[in-house]
Amino acid sequence: MTNLATPASPPKSETVHVSLTVNGKPVTVEVDPRTLLVQLLRDHLLLTGTHVGCDTSQCGACVVLMDGDAVKSCTVLAAQADGASVTTIEGLAAGGTLHPMQEAFRENHGLQCGFCTPGMIMTAVDLVAHHGPGLTEQQIREGLDGNLCRCTGYHNIVKSIAAGAQAMAGGSGSGAKVAAE
């Protein structure tokens, strides 16, 4: 794949210099000032796991972690991420081993078409960070207020997050056991 593919920087307008860390790797890019973080990720860095499902910051398909907090990357300018550390869905599985939350989504059928899934998982990781492993079903459902899914009816997403939270507390790799019926 080549960079011809990406929306080229406008030829004449000024650009801004952004340096940040993405999935542990330092990155420096020159972008149009109006470039959004999600565009930086998808179009410049070709990290297409982060999705865009709406244009009003409602759907949450674009959620990534910025300095440890969940943000909607469609609502953050790339320039605002200067100096930040960003984790996307591509950076969650360490060394090829699925993160316990990813594992829990698979074990509990927490995804169907997969489009909302990256945002759901990043939000879920953030929820666990804020509420701890024992978060309640109500906390999960309310915590997903910014994430839309049209396939699952949320039933198995909620189940996945509860199991993933337990697995994160218990160390990596135990997600499947916790979640197993």
């Binding site: 709406c54 009003t56 869905i89 997969g114 489009f115 049209r150 039933h155």
Partner: protein, 798 residues
């Protein structure tokens, strides 16, 4: 099995096992490949200038200023379509009116020619080096519109004097269709002891798959061939329409690729203007052309669903048994007939009006009406939710008017003998409606409901319970049958099973997965049948260069039809493999048994595993190639002999706070008979998602246009999608009667929730509120007004 166990997929997976999905790894790690994730060298970006008016004549379009803007590659309009002799978008199902006349299909160009008919209609496309530049240039296009009066409302569009959308369709009526026996139904009503009547609105919905539609068209001048990546549920049908009707390119010069598709729910069946333009324009500009919908564009121009106005009457005898059912429905088609729009309120609706009930006579009339709104076509369930909502609402109302228990009233009228010929074409092969009703009642703890209602009342809350005993016709469909009803295509499915020399298997299917998990379920079937581990099976779909032809995925057809085609191909593979195994084992073919992945000489321990036979097929050393061709690859086309009839019973229990109008779904129970289930985990997931969409229709969602035809609900800020805290957990269960008309006994599960849930919810709401008049969506504001009116009436009576 545990999912962390790397060997989990290295096992043979029996039918009925909750095998974890093979496709999940790429989705979980951000490696899914959706259309917008693809970029092509040298690609340009398309932006569509859309009509801001619901109805207007275009006097002129001046693109000269826009053309001079930075980065603009080209700007195309309907005049350019005409110059290239590009045909209109078409509706592929011919419906005849009751007077015998064919439906009146208004011209539907991909870019407007002289007139726009809804807000969002496509006026021009700007192709530029960047999307920003394309948008900037679009703002510089000067369109001189002559605004015309607007026919925005379904209720009034047929009136004399209403503004006309298409000259070909007087009174904005595309067709006036009928089904059933009018005279027999009149006779039934003449002897009725009681007639129950109901007027219903089935609210208009926006499908909202989470992945917006997208397309990349690319023209290869060397091969004079096009490639179109697009978000479609049926790439071959898209290619056929683009080739045979729109005239972009001959089929063999057009490759359509539907990669990972992020949900469809019907909205991605159809061929739209945008992908048509991307393919066509790629040759004109000599570079790839990419377009991705913004969500606001999806609301404007993705085909909507439902939108019916119905009056219905049910004739009952003295014992409360149904004598006849009479229905008149007006169905909104929007501004143009979309690809399958005409079939939805007709053969997917009228044919389901018998429900689960023994109805001796049915007569149904449907008027299909043009309005200055986005086209309306299939959305999850497509006609069958509208039928179920009507049948189950009127059954509930009838039970209440008779003072009978709603469950027992239904039970009394259930069809109990199969096969059963309804008065509206369909012949139900099998079912056990009492079994699903009983199981649902037990799971929902119907016995405990009065106590729960009383307890809620003590807290000032209104509890209600509602049933929905639905049926659907799936497994679309016997080709000759649908052909006789007007379909422009056959509805068989294809499969090709390619066994490689090393014994692993690729299955090419004409079905398309956009969330349904085919890569797992189909592989599970092959694994079970051939006795090889599931990780030795790959499912290939969504590319017209790989799969020869197929009809795609919709109408819960991939299991019943798509998998049946795989079974048929597997039958041929096994038959040939037996012959080869007989030579390898130096035995007679009649003595060869195939079990657990091994070919064995009956009564001996002499055996060869499947993989060895596969290798033998390709080395071709041990059998006469004059008798048996080398290789092991078989294809099949499977045409169903009947529809399948999933059915079941959903029960919803709600609690309403009359002070706020807020409704809490306290319990939702679904019991479904899908026939044989291959993977219960995936089936349950399909049910969950469908129920959430049904609850969305009942309580939250509704597309609204104002009287000028402006879309009021054009974003997620205005259109209420179900969120995690809007829906409960679901209690789902299964019953099983095996489908008798396909080899696996499958009925299909993809739409049941969306079909059953709205009636269950509204029946519960009407029960709680004590009025039959609860419109969808029953939002807190709507419910609060009902409660306030009731309180005012009580005060007045005191």
């Amino acid at each position: 099995m545990t999912a962390t166990d790397a060997s989990a997929f290295s096992t043979v997976t029996p039918i009925g096992a909750a095998v974890r999905r093979k496709e999940d790894h790429r989705f979980l790690t951000g490696k899914g490949r959706y259309t917008d994730d693809f970029s092509r060298p040298g690609q340009t970006f398309a932006y569509f200038l859309r009509s801001p008016h619901a109805h207007a004549a275009i006097r002129s379009i001046d693109v000269s200023a826009a053309r001079a803007m930075p980065g603009v590659v080209d700007i195309l309009t309907g005049a350019d379509l005409a110059e290239d002799k590009i045909g209109d978008l078409i509706c592929g199902w011919m419906i005849h009116s009751k007077d015998g006349s064919p439906m009146k299909m208004g011209s539907h160009p991909a870019l407007a020619k002289g007139k726009v008919r809804y807000v969002g209609d496509h006026v021009a496309v700007v192709i530029a080096e960047s999307l920003h530049q394309a948008k900037d240039a679009a703002a510089a296009i000067a369109v001189d519109y002559e605004e015309l009066p607007v026919a925005a409302g379904l209720a009034t569009a047929q009136e004399a004097g209403a503004p006309q959308l298409h000259d070909i369709a007087p009174r904005n009526t595309a067709f006036e269709w009928e089904l059933g026996d009018r005279a027999a139904t009149e006779a039934a009503f003449a002897k009725a002891v009681r007639v129950v009547s109901l007027d219903l609105v089935n609210n208009r919905l926006a499908p909202n798959a989470m992945e917006p539609r997208a397309a990349i068209g690319e023209y290869d001048a060397g091969d004079e061939a096009y490639t179109l990546w697009t978000t479609t549920q049926n790439p071959h049908v898209a290619r056929l329409v683009l080739s045979a009707f729109v005239g972009i390119a001959p089929e063999h010069k057009l490759r359509v690729i539907a990669p990972d598709v992020g949900g469809g729910f019907g909205s991605k069946i159809f061929l739209y203007a945008e992908e048509t333009v991307c393919a066509w324009a790629s040759k004109r500009v000599g570079r790839p052309v990419k377009w991705t919908a913004e969500r606001s564009e999806s609301f404007l121009s993705d085909a909507h669903g439902r939108d019916h106005l119905t009056h219905a009457e049910l004739a009952l005898d003295a014992g409360g048994r149904i004598l006849g059912f009479r229905v008149h429905t007006r169905a909104n088609m929007g501004a143009y007939l979309s690809t399958f729009a005409s079939s939805i309120p007709t053969y997917l609706y009228g044919t389901l009006l018998s429900g689960q009930y023994d109805m001796p006579a049915i007569y149904c009339e449907v008027d299909a009406v043009y309005t200055n709104t986005a086209p309306v076509d299939a959305y999850r369930g497509a006609g069958r939710p509208e039928a179920t909502f009507l049948v189950e609402r009127i059954m509930e109302k009838a039970a209440r008017e008779l003072g009978e228990d709603p469950a027992e009233f239904r039970r009394k009228n259930f069809i109990t003998k199969f096969p059963h010929q309804t008065p509206v074409i369909l012949n139900y092969d099998t079912g056990d409606y009492a079994a699903s009703l009983d199981k649902a009642m037990q799971m929902a703890d119907i016995a405990g409901f009065p106590a729960r209602k009383a307890e809620a009342a003590r807290r000032g809350r209104l509890r209600g319970i509602g049933y929905s005993a639905y049926i659907e016709a799936c497994g679309l469909a016997p080709s000759s049958a649908v052909g006789s009803l007007g379909a422009g295509v056959g509805l068989w499915e294809s499969a090709e099973v390619r066994v490689n020399p090393t014994g692993n298997v690729e299955v090419l299917t004409g079905s398309h997965s956009h969330g349904q998990g085919h890569e797992t379920t189909f592989a599970q079937l092959v694994s079970a049948r051939l006795g090889i581990p599931i990780d030795q099976v790959t499912i290939v779909h969504g590319d017209t260069d790989k799969v020869q032809f197929g009809m795609g995925t919709y109408g819960s057809r991939s299991g019943a039809v798509g998998m049946s085609a795989i079974v048929k191909a597997l039958d041929k593979v096994e038959a040939k493999a037996r012959k080869i195994a007989a030579y390898l084992l130096e035995a007679s073919e009649g003595d060869i048994e195939f079990k657990d992945g091994k070919f064995t000489v009956a009564g001996t321990d002499r055996a060869v595993p499947f993989a060895e036979v596969a290798l033998g097929a390709y080395t071709a050393h041990k059998f006469p190639t004059s008798e048996i061709e080398p290789g092991l690859k078989e294809g099949a086309f499977y045409d169903p002999i009947n529809f399948t009839f999933p059915a079941g019973c959903h029960i919803c229990e709600v609690e309403v706070d009359p002070e706020t109008g807020v409704t809490d779904i306290v319990k939702f129970t679904a019991v479904d008979d899908f026939g044989v289930v291959i993977n219960p985990m995936i089936v349950e997931g399909q049910v969950h998602g469908g129920i959430a969409q049904g609850i969305g229709q009942a309580l939250l969602e509704g597309v609204t246009y104002d009287s000028d035809g402006q879309l009021v609900t054009g974003s997620y800020m205005d259109y209420t999608m179900p969120r995690a805290d809007d829906v409960p957990r679901f209690d789902v269960g299964l019953t099983e009667t095996r489908c008798t008309t396909n080899p696996l006994g499958i009925k299909g599960c993809g739409e049941a929730g969306a079909i059953a849930a709205p009636a269950a919810v509204i029946n519960a709401m009407t029960d709680a509120l004590g009025t039959e008049d609860v419109p969808m969506p029953a939002t807190p504001a709507t419910v609060w007004r009902i409660c306030e009116a009731q309180a005012a009436a009580r005060r007045a009576a005191e």
